[in-house]
């Protein structure tokens, strides 16, 4: 994709977000001048950028939005729900267009029509409020044909003496001129015209506001030619014309139906996930990195100086001392640089949070729920991948809160709660983790209902369910298979249940949990790592290969005399401090040949796997290290038993094993 377009997409997203934020703010405070200003500027800038590309429909809609906002800014017209709705619709469509452009490089096919529709809706807000929606007369309404018949003053009605008449009503699309259509030229080519009536589809705007290039015509005509002949004329615009065959003096019957209103296209599908590959970084952080690189250069020069001195016969002891000092400096610098680079990847929650008010508003609107949504902790930062990965799960949880948490107003009133359901989205730092919560004061979760559903759907056995505490039962909402397709609505998700939410959060290295009090509300809580953490691993040698084992699973290492290893049927066990532990050999797990090394003792890594302790026999222990673990991607992503890889100092790749998975 063209560079300029890529920048445009990034910029457009920000401006769209800005405009949406301001509009949302306007909705709650219609008199807020700064928000009108800010929304106007965002739309104005966006429109300007759009002008650089071949995106006319988008420009048209934004231009209308800009005019409307400009008018509001100057105090012409007032902000009300309708205006905000229309503007938000325009912004929402623009956002979808930007996603389409990102994916395909161009606007979707129906953009022209949609652009005009939006522009017209916006202009009608501006010009004549009451006329904003002109109810279309249903096309099947036929009095117009009679009027047409009556007015058929044409040269000769008798032209059609021996056959049926064809009545046609042609309503060209507003953007038809841009498609090169000339409706009048089409009319001209209709054979055997008997009557013509010209009118306007929508009321004309004031003379000063007429857009000559937006077609507002309605053409009605009567022809004495056959239906097929008339149809042929309009073969390229079948969707805009209605033909009726009118048998002489008898009731007309319908010939062709007119489909209409390229009804709301694909939904916000692309709005969520698609993340741009660019990262905007605070300049101060880049400066910090540059400083560190400068210090690094100094450290490197010191090393070069030292090498020179060592060559000139410096005393060995001094060399060692200077080397150690130099190493310490570089060590510190590397650590700081690592932190600085991590900082660059840090982004505030705001970047995703700001998209939620609109999502909540839309969902609430569609479900007719009254919601008071608030957010806190937008400034909390976490690694880019963590923040971005949170968008989908949070969106789902928020929609759930609106769809399932919020009770009908009457129920709330009876319970003595305020009419509006409060939904709070909160983020806060907790040590080296970040906690994100969605709390509502809705109906809460009924643990017995959960038990019942879980039983019906076979998520857990009756026995297990009986033994569970209420809190444990609630956790079942995260169990796979708990939410079924039947309750997947357009709103509460695109086929994802809470199990998908949990697995998305776990993929980020986090945990999801739920607390709820029936009748008082529900809190869904995510706890996530702040950054991609360094993993401590222990390296072990099997045969000639080196493997890593995450240290958090390792309890201890031991050297077990071979005599203490007991065969148990076809497996092995050993006794360690009076406990008998099963023994597995890593070589067997990895399906590589055991090395026949008759050492005096067997080197065993004692690990906790689930609730049990297991001894894993290896050939050699190697060093422990902190590594930046890369998850497996691409073809290797599905490789069992390996959690990730890291690069060793000498350039080799170290595979980090998932021992519990290997044991199975």
């Amino acid at each position: 994709m063209d560079d300029l377009l890529q920048h445009f997409i990034v910029e457009a997203r920000e401006l769209i977000q800005q405009a949406a934020d301001d509009l949302m703010a306007l909705e709650s405070d219609p008199t807020s001048g700064p928000h009108v200003d800010s929304a106007f500027r965002a739309v104005h800038t966006l429109k300007g950028s759009v002008g650089l590309f071949d995106l006319a429909p988008m420009g048209l809609a934004l231009h209308a939005a800009e005019d409307l906002l400009g008018g509001l800014r100057e105090g012409r017209g007032t902000v009300d729900g309708d205006v905000v709705d229309t503007l938000l619709e325009c912004i929402g469509q623009t956002e979808r267009w930007v996603s389409a452009i990102e994916q395909t490089g161009q606007l979707p096919a129906d953009a022209a029509e949609e652009g005009y529709r939006l522009a017209r809706a916006l202009r009608s807000q501006f010009e004549q409020r009451p006329a904003s929606t002109t109810a279309e007369v249903p096309e099947a309404d036929l009095p117009w044909i009679e009027e047409l018949m009556a007015s058929s003053h044409g040269p000769d009605v008798s032209k059609a003496e021996n056959g049926a008449l064809v009545a046609l009503r042609y309503t060209p699309r507003p953007d038809c001129f841009f498609a090169g259509d000339d409706p009048i030229a089409l009319l001209r080519s209709v054979p055997k015209l008997l009557a013509v009536r010209l009118s306007n589809r929508d009321p004309w705007p004031p003379a000063a506001k007429i857009d000559p290039f937006s077609c507002n015509l309605r053409i009605e005509a009567l022809s004495g030619a056959g239906l097929d002949a008339v149809k042929a004329v309009f073969r390229f615009v079948p969707d805009q014309v209605v033909l009726h065959e009118v048998a002489r003096a008898t009731a007309p019957h319908s010939g062709e139906a007119s489909p209409d209103e390229g009804s709301a296209g694909p939904s916000a599908g692309a709005a969520g996930g698609a993340s741009s590959r660019m990262l905007r970084v605070d300049a101060a952080r880049i400066d910090r990195l540059a400083d560190l690189v400068g210090e690094m250069v100094v450290a490197k020069n010191a090393l070069a100086h030292l090498a020179g001195q060592a060559g000139e016969g410096m005393h060995r002891k001094d060399v060692a001392q200077c080397l150690a000092a130099s190493q310490a400096v570089i060590d510190r610098l590397v650590a700081e640089m690592h932190r600085a680079v991590m900082d660059v990847r840090m982004m505030p929650m705001r970047d995703i949070f700001r998209r939620f008010p609109r999502a909540v508003r839309d969902t609430a609107g569609q479900l007719g729920k009254a919601i008071e949504f608030s957010m806190d902790g937008e400034d909390v930062e976490a690694d880019k991948s963590v923040v971005e990965g949170l968008f989908e799960p949070l969106l789902h949880v928020l929609r759930n809160a609106v769809a399932h948490g919020a009770e009908p107003e009457s129920v709330r009133l009876d319970a003595g709660k305020p009419i509006k359901t409060k939904i709070m989205l909160r983020a806060r730092r907790e040590g080296d983790r970040v906690a994100v919560e969605v709390e509502d004061d809705g109906r809460g979760i009924d643990p017995d209902a959960i038990r019942q559903v879980a039983r019906e759907r076979g998520v857990a056995s009756g026995d297990q369910l009986e033994r569970m505490s209420n809190a444990e039962a609630m956790e079942l909402i995260f169990a796979p298979g708990f939410s079924t397709a039947s309750e997947v609505t357009d709103l509460s998700g695109r086929g994802v249940g809470m199990d998908a939410v949990r697995s998305a959060v776990e993929k980020l290295g986090g945990q999801a949990s739920v607390t709820s009090r029936q009748g008082q509300g529900t809190t869904i809580r995510f706890s996530l790592p702040l950054t991609i953490v360094m993993t401590r691993v222990m390296a072990v040698r099997v045969g000639r290969e080196l493997y890593g084992i995450p240290l958090d699973g390792v309890v201890e290492t031991a050297v077990v005399p071979t005599t203490r290893i007991l065969p148990v049927r076809d497996a092995e066990a050993f006794v360690l401090r009076d406990r008998t532990l099963p023994l597995v050999r890593l070589a067997d797990l990895l399906e590589i040949p055991r090395s026949e090394e008759p050492g005096p003792g067997m080197k065993v890594v004692v690990m906790s796997v689930g609730d049990e302790m297991v001894g894993v026999a290896v050939d050699q222990f190697a060093e422990r290290m902190d590594v930046l673990m890369r998850p497996m991607t691409g073809i290797l992503a599905g490789m069992p038993g390996v959690v990730g890889t890291t690069l060793l100092g000498d350039g080799r790749v170290l595979m980090i094993l998932d021992v519990p998975e290997l044991i199975g």
Partner: protein, 89 residues
């Protein structure tokens, strides 16, 4: 030039095309009293026609082209649908 201003009369001549709509609209917006002369018009693009329909200027001559004479000019003068709201400029 298929559209031109001659004194206070806007003359449409020949095959009037979509781009003629804008100057026509401009002249009519500037002075709604201007008459539009269709005598030498051979075709009116729908965009042009729509301007005439919307602003309803006095029309003059509808001779040459049979289609315009028989159908367009009468339709323009008859076009007074009931839902037409009088507009202030």
């Amino acid at each position: 030039m298929t559209v031109r201003l001659d004194g206070n009369i806007i003359v449409l001549e020949g095959q009037c095309r979509v781009e003629d709509a804008e100057p026509l609209l401009g002249w009519l917006q500037a002075d709604e009293g201007r008459t539009v002369d269709l005598t030498d018009a051979e075709h009116l693009h729908a965009a042009v026609l729509q301007v005439l329909l919307a602003l309803k200027p006095p029309l003059r001559g509808a001779g040459k082209d049979a289609f315009i004479r028989d159908w367009i000019a009468p339709a323009l003068t008859n076009a007074r649908p009931p839902d037409m709201v009088p507009q202030g400029g």
